[in-house]
């Protein structure tokens, strides 16, 4: 007896919605068992993970704040992965964007400035991220160097560069020689949208990017090109699409988005440059991109959901004394089930009896 996967002729919309729901249900069951084995109340644990972040307005804002950098990057990565460009270095592009944007904040510190500072920071961040994203792209198109390695190695390089800048040339002269830049002035901070919370303009940017991404992917020739180059490179070449130019374009674009995310993180959540600014947003975005099935709207949903679980995990530490590692295990379960259930969408499962010999 064995399990056979039979490809469906077309993916029904019903299955597309059903699969994440089943995944979450399975996670609830698995999680409940795990928590019960650990001696914690399963219902309390599960409600902490999934419901507690929704309990008040401030917390819901936090979901958007946490999701913003991840979703922004994920949309860009979707473009890359669909066209077979494996950009694993979004984390480095985020850092580079933060460096470029932070530079603007630092040079305008103490000098009379205006509301133009923040948009300039965003532009600078886009530039920085895009340039840094072009490095693995150029190495790929000119030398055939595999972009998985080059983009990954450059993450470490970007982090070390930030470290050096913040300890050296950009160190706050009045900061007791601690490794930090000056505190960004109010003009350099992301505009808050609400008085009583941390929701900031980045969330709007995120929505704009998601919608723009969906339009590009679904309705424009570029989107078609991206998908064709990824699925059938030879056909794409016959159609006149230049895959090398596309590589440069998508890397620059995803780098720019990561750069924006970087600027938002330092200006909305930290308020200065420090040696470490990101807990791995660039890598989390990779997961979000795939959970979202490389579709911008999907990325938004997946990003918000994942942010929910991160905050839920924090709350679990606070309310239930569940260690962070348990949260990671639980998230692993969730991801496994979502990925497994996605198979339902693409394949029908049949149990087949072995034919008698």
């Amino acid at each position: 007896m064995r399990i056979v996967l039979e490809k469906r002729d077309d993916t029904s919309a019903f299955a597309a919605v059903l699969s994440p729901v089943i995944a979450v249900l399975l996670t609830l069951v698995a999680g409940a068992i795990m928590f019960a084995l650990m001696g914690k109340d399963p219902l309390a644990a599960l409600s902490t993970y999934f419901l507690s972040p929704l309990q008040d307005w401030g917390s819901i804002q936090e979901i958007f704040v946490a999701a913003t950098p991840i979703v922004l990057i994920a949309v860009g990565l979707s473009l890359c992965y669909l066209s077979n460009n494996w950009n694993i270095g979004a984390e480095g592009q985020l850092v580079m964007g933060a460096i470029f944007g932070g530079f603007v904040a630092i040079v305008t510190h103490g000098v009379p400035n205006g509301p133009w500072v923040f948009p300039v920071m965003l532009l600078a961040g886009m530039l920085g991220g895009a340039l840094f994203g072009l490095v693995p792209a150029v190495l790929k198109t000119r030398f055939g160097a595999n972009e998985i390695l080059t983009s990954l190695m450059l993450v470490y390089v970007a982090e070390l560069l930030l470290d050096w800048l913040v300890r050296g040339p950009w160190r706050d002269p009045h900061g007791f020689n601690f490794p930090q830049s000056v505190m960004f002035e109010p003009e350099a901070l992301a505009l808050r949208l609400v008085e009583t919370g941390r929701l900031h303009v980045g969330a709007l940017l995120m929505l704009v990017v998601v919608i723009a991404g969906a339009v590009v992917m679904g309705r424009t020739l570029k989107g078609f090109e991206v998908r064709l180059v990824g699925e059938a490179p030879r056909a794409a070449r016959f159609a006149g699409f230049d895959d090398k130019r596309l590589t440069l374009t998508v890397f620059a674009l995803s780098g720019a988005l990561a750069g924006i995310a970087g600027v938002l993180v330092v200006s909305a959540q930290i308020g200065q440059l420090q040696p470490t600014i990101s807990p791995g947003y660039g890598f989390t975005a990779i997961i979000v991109a795939f959970l979202g099935r490389l579709n911008p709207i999907g990325c938004l949903v997946a990003g918000l959901f994942l942010a929910l679980t991160f905050i839920g995990g924090e709350n679990a530490q606070i309310f239930l004394r569940l260690p962070l590692d348990v949260t990671r295990v639980f998230q692993g379960f969730l991801l496994f089930f979502v990925l497994a259930c996605d198979t339902l969408m693409l394949y029908r499962i049949r149990i087949e009896r072995e034919a008698a010999a």
């Binding site: 990954l152 470290d163 590692d325 990671r328 379960f333 496994f336």
Partner: protein, 305 residues
């Protein structure tokens, strides 16, 4: 002991876990599967290996425990990506998160304990030869295992029929299936082997390199191993070159600092990564551009009826 000898010995220690994990992942990728969960499997190996060694008092049992832990975690990955044709990149990343968390849960009761360092090989006479003797005959068993693995993987992939079939699965799984080869079963064995190697590499960290457990002690080595596989263009001996290059530059920059070299430490720390990129580009120029990735790397295989 001269400084050169000491440096070589340290480089060997630093490079060995990278080499072991890279060789395992190389086989996996040659079979057409991309498993980004190396970091998770490695740290599970470190945690379980240490735990078993403490509980049983026997380092070798710890090593076996680590290998099994890596393989078990790999089997979860295999179930997802081979059994259910799930996306390999996401599954691998999920595995890394899961492994990191699970290792912390398992290792929590073993923080603050330590074991004796694994004894090194000692052959009277041979090990005493100045310089070469220590380097060749006075290493701990993991180093010899890594070299045996290197030879074994190379021989298996390029000198046996089974290896040829495995590579065929990676190059074109449809044709391999049409020829009657059990593609999924071959990939499963490859994935388990990769997990075992990653677990073994983790055991090295917690039983020989720094014989204690601490959360996150792999510190990104799994990712470096993945990069080394790519750097190696999926060739075993080139993986060894990559591992030793990376380990070597890492150690040399520490020595440079100790000797008082007046270069920013961050730049020195970035050298291993930069050098890896530069060397890769030079290699690619030399072979004029053709990528050596198995053509069907990362695409799930679902047999049509």
């Amino acid at each position: 002991m001269t400084l050169l000898e000491a440096i070589i010995l340290t480089v060997i220690t630093a490079s060995t876990p990278l080499l072991i994990a890279a060789l395992g992942e190389l086989v996996v990728e040659k079979a057409g599967v991309l498993n980004l969960g190396v970091e998770g499997m490695m740290i599970m190996g470190a945690a379980c290996g240490f735990a078993v060694a403490i509980l049983t008092g026997n380092t070798w049992l710890g090593v076996i425990g680590a290998i099994l832990a890596g393989a078990v975690l790999a089997s979860v990955f295999a179930l997802l990506t081979l059994g259910l044709a799930a996306n390999q990149v996401a599954s691998g990343l999920a595995l890394s998160i899961f492994g990191l968390g699970l290792s912390g849960v398992i290792g929590a009761s073993f923080v603050g304990l330590q074991r004796e360092v694994m004894p090194k090989l000692f052959i009277p006479g041979l090990s005493d030869i100045p310089f070469l003797g220590r380097i060749l005959f006075n290493q701990d068993p993991f180093v010899y295992a890594s070299l045996a693995l290197l030879a074994g993987v190379w021989w298996f992939l390029f000198r046996t029929r089974a290896g040829l079939v495995l590579r065929a699965c990676g190059e074109n799984h449809t044709s391999a299936h049409a020829l009657g080869y059990p593609v999924l079963r071959i990939r499963l064995l490859a994935v388990l082997f990769g997990g075992a190697c990653a677990g073994l590499a983790g055991a090295y960290l917690s039983l020989a390199y720094t014989p204690f457990w601490s959360p996150g002690m792999t510190a990104g080595r799994g990712w470096i191993a993945l990069a080394i596989v790519v750097f190696a263009s999926w060739l075993p001996w080139r993986a060894a070159l990559g591992a030793y290059l990376f380990g070597g530059v890492t150690i040399l920059q520490l020595h440079a600092q100790g000797a008082g070299l007046a270069v920013p430490s961050q730049f020195l720390a970035a050298l291993p990564y930069l050098v890896t990129i530069v060397v890769l580009v030079l290699i690619m120029r030399a072979r004029s551009g053709a990528s050596a990735a198995p053509a069907h790397l990362g695409t799930p295989f679902v047999p049509d009826r």
